[in-house]
Amino acid sequence: MSLRIVVCVKYVPDATGDRHFAEDLTTDRDAVDGLLSELDEYAVEQALQIADAADDAEITVLTVGPEDAKDALRKALSMGADKGVHVEDDDLHGTDVVGTSLVLAKAVEHVGYDLVLCGMASTDGTMGVLPAILAERLGVPQVTLLSEVAVADGTVTGRRDGDAASEQLQAQLPAVVSVTDQSGEARYPSFKGIMAAKKKPVESLDLSDLGIDADEVGLGGAWTKVEDAAKRPERTAGTIVKDEGEGGKQLAEFLVSQKFI
C-alpha cells in the first residue's frame, strides 16, 4: 500500500525583511513579501527522500493561510511533492497555535496519512511546538526535532540531538515527525519541476469543509492575547576603533571599564 505522507508547511513573511505588526497586533503580512518558511523546506526534502526509499508513496503538502499561501505550496510542489491542500478562510485571520493545530489535524485526517512531516519551527512565530500539539490532537506518536530520519516497514526511526544527550527514537506509523535544519540541505526546484508544479492539483478547503466553527479559530478564538507590541529601541551607537596593533588591548580596556574583567 502506498505510504501517505503529508507535509505541513507555512507561508511566512521573509525573515530578512523589515517585519512588523498590523494594527490588530497580528503579523503584518502586507509590508514584507511572503515565502515558504525556510525551515519547512527541510521537511519537504525529507519527505522526498522517504518517498524515494519507499516502494510507493504520495506526498501531499498542506498549508493554512491566506490566498498568497498558495505560493508556499507551489514551491513545495516544484521541489517534487505530488499534490497540495490549501485551507483558506477569512475567519482564520489571527489564529494562534492552538487553533492552527486544530485546523491542521482536521485537514490531515481529511487527506488521510501514515506520516505527517513538519519543520522544526516557523521562522515568524518560532514557537516550535506545533508538531507536538498535532501529535497530541491526532493521538499518534510524536517523533520530533530529528536531525536524521528513516522510515521502513511501518516504523519511523531517527536521531534527536538534545542539549544533554543525543537520542535514537523509534515509533510505529502513523506518526508526526519534525526535522531540524541539520537533517540535510533542501534541493532547489529544477526548471522541469517548476513547470510540472503548475499542473499538479491543489485542493482548496474552508472551515466548513473541515467541520470547524469560526469561533474556534481566528483572533477571537485565540487562547492567548497580544496586548502590546513595541519596536525594540535601536542600540545606541558604540565605539568602533581600527586595529593599529593595540586593538586587543583597547578591547580589554573597554571590558575592564565595564567590569567584565
Binding site: T126, V129, A132, R160, G162, E167, A222, W223, E246, I261
Partner: protein, 320 residues
C-alpha cells in the same frame, strides 16, 4: 495565595539554573509548587526549597527515561489536577516547550513560549517576549484556561527565598500515548567543561572569519580566559568547523548573556535573532561595513587572529 506549578529541569537531582530563575518569576504570581520527575527527583527538594518552593511534587518511573515527552506530560497533568494552580511555568528548552504545549491543549489552556519576563497582571500573568529576531518586544497573556508559559534562560535573577519545600509523592497514571515513541538509546553529550551556552554570563562566538575548525582554539582560549561559553555562527557550523549544539541564531540557541563577544561574524539576521538581546555586545571583524557593528557597544575593525590572542593575553594578565 494561589499556587503556581514550576516544572523542574534537573540532571539526576542537580537542578539546572533556569529552574531557579523560574522560581523567582513564579513568586511574583503566587506560591511556587515544584514538579520534579525521573531519577533523582527527590534530591532536588533542598535546592528548590532554598529558592522558594513551598512544595516539591516528585515522581519516578522507568517511562520517563524510556519514552519521549508524553510520560512527562501525563505527570505534569497529574500535578495540575492535584494542585489547580494559577499558572504553569516551564523552562524553554526544546523538551520543556513540547511538554508545556501538549499539557496546554489537554487542559484547554492557551500557551505562551519563550517569555523573557513575567509580571502579575489584573487578568493573570503578563509575559514579555522578544519577537521577529528581537526587533520587537511584546506583552501577552493567556486568555483561556490556566496560563501555561515557558521561560527562556537568563530571564530573571536567581534569588534565595527559603520556603518549606515539603516533598510529596505525585501519583501518575500513564495514558495510552505515553509509550508511543521509544528512546532506543541515549548518548550523553560530552561536556566541554565550559558553562552551558544559554545560561552563561559571557558568550564568545566565532563565525566565517575563523576560517577553519583548526582555528577555533583562538575563540576557545578567549572564552576560557573569561570563563565564557563558546558559540558559533551558522556559517561556521554549516562549514563543519564547530558543533551544531553551539550554534547561536534563529535555528540554534538564543542567548542573552551579560557580554557577547562576536569574532569574525558579519551579523546576518539569522545570527542577530539569537544574540541581539545580550546586555553588552563587542565585536572583532575585518570588514568595517559588517552589520554586526550596528549592534556593538565596542567594536574593533581588524584581523581577529591579531586582536583576539592579544585580548586573551590581556585578560589573563589582568586576572593574574
Amino acid at each position: 495565595m494561589a499556587e503556581v506549578l514550576v516544572y523542574v529541569d534537573h540532571v539526576d537531582g542537580a537542578v539546572r539554573k533556569p529552574t531557579l530563575e523560574l522560581l523567582t518569576l513564579a513568586r511574583r504570581v503566587g506560591e511556587p509548587v515544584a514538579v520534579a520527575l525521573g531519577n533523582g527527583a527527590a534530591d532536588t527538594a533542598a535546592t528548590l526549597a532554598e529558592h522558594g518552593a513551598v512544595k516539591v511534587l516528585t515522581a519516578d518511573a522507568p517511562e520517563f527515561a524510556e519514552y519521549l515527552v508524553v510520560p512527562k506530560v501525563d505527570a505534569l497533568q497529574a500535578a495540575y489536577e492535584a494542585v489547580s494552580p494559577a499558572a504553569v511555568l516551564v523552562p524553554s528548552s526544546a523538551e520543556g516547550k513540547e511538554i508545556a504545549a501538549r499539557l496546554a491543549v489537554r487542559i484547554g489552556s492557551g500557551i505562551i513560549t519563550d517569555a523573557v519576563d513575567i509580571e502579575a497582571g489584573a487578568d493573570g500573568p503578563v509575559a514579555t517576549q522578544s519577537v521577529f529576531a528581537a526587533a520587537f518586544t511584546t506583552k501577552s497573556r493567556v486568555s483561556k484556561g490556566t496560563p501555561v508559559i515557558t521561560v527562556k534562560p537568563n530571564s530573571a535573577p536567581v534569588e534565595a527565598a527559603p520556603a518549606a519545600g515539603a516533598v510529596e509523592a505525585l501519583s501518575v497514571t500513564f495514558g495510552d500515548a505515553a509509550k508511543g515513541t521509544k528512546i532506543v538509546s541515549r548518548t550523553p553529550r560530552e561536556s566541554s567543561g565550559r558553562p552551558e551556552l544559554t545560561e552563561a554570563a559571557i558568550v564568545v562566538s566565532g563565525g566565517r572569519g575563523v576560517n577553519g575548525a583548526e582555528n577555533f582554539h583562538v575563540i576557545e582560549e578567549l572564552a576560557d580566559s573569561l570563563g565564557a561559553a563558546v558559540g558559533a555562527s551558522r556559517a561556521a557550523v554549516d562549514a563543519g568547523w564547530y558543533p551544531h549544539s553551539n550554534q547561536v541564531g534563529q535555528t540554534g540557541k538564543s542567548v542573552s548573556p551579560q557580554l557577547y563577544v562576536a569574532n569574525g561574524i558579519s551579523g546576518a539576521i539569522q545570527h542577530r535573532a539569537g544574540m541581539q538581546t545580550s546586555k553588552t555586545i563587542v565585536a572583532v571583524n575585518k570588514d568595517p561595513e559588517a552589520p554586526i557593528f550596528d549592534l556593538v557597544d565596542y567594536g574593533v575593525v581588524g584581523d581577529l587572529f591579531q586582536v583576539v590572542p592579544q585580548l586573551t593575553e590581556e585578560v589573563k594578565a589582568r586576572k593574574g
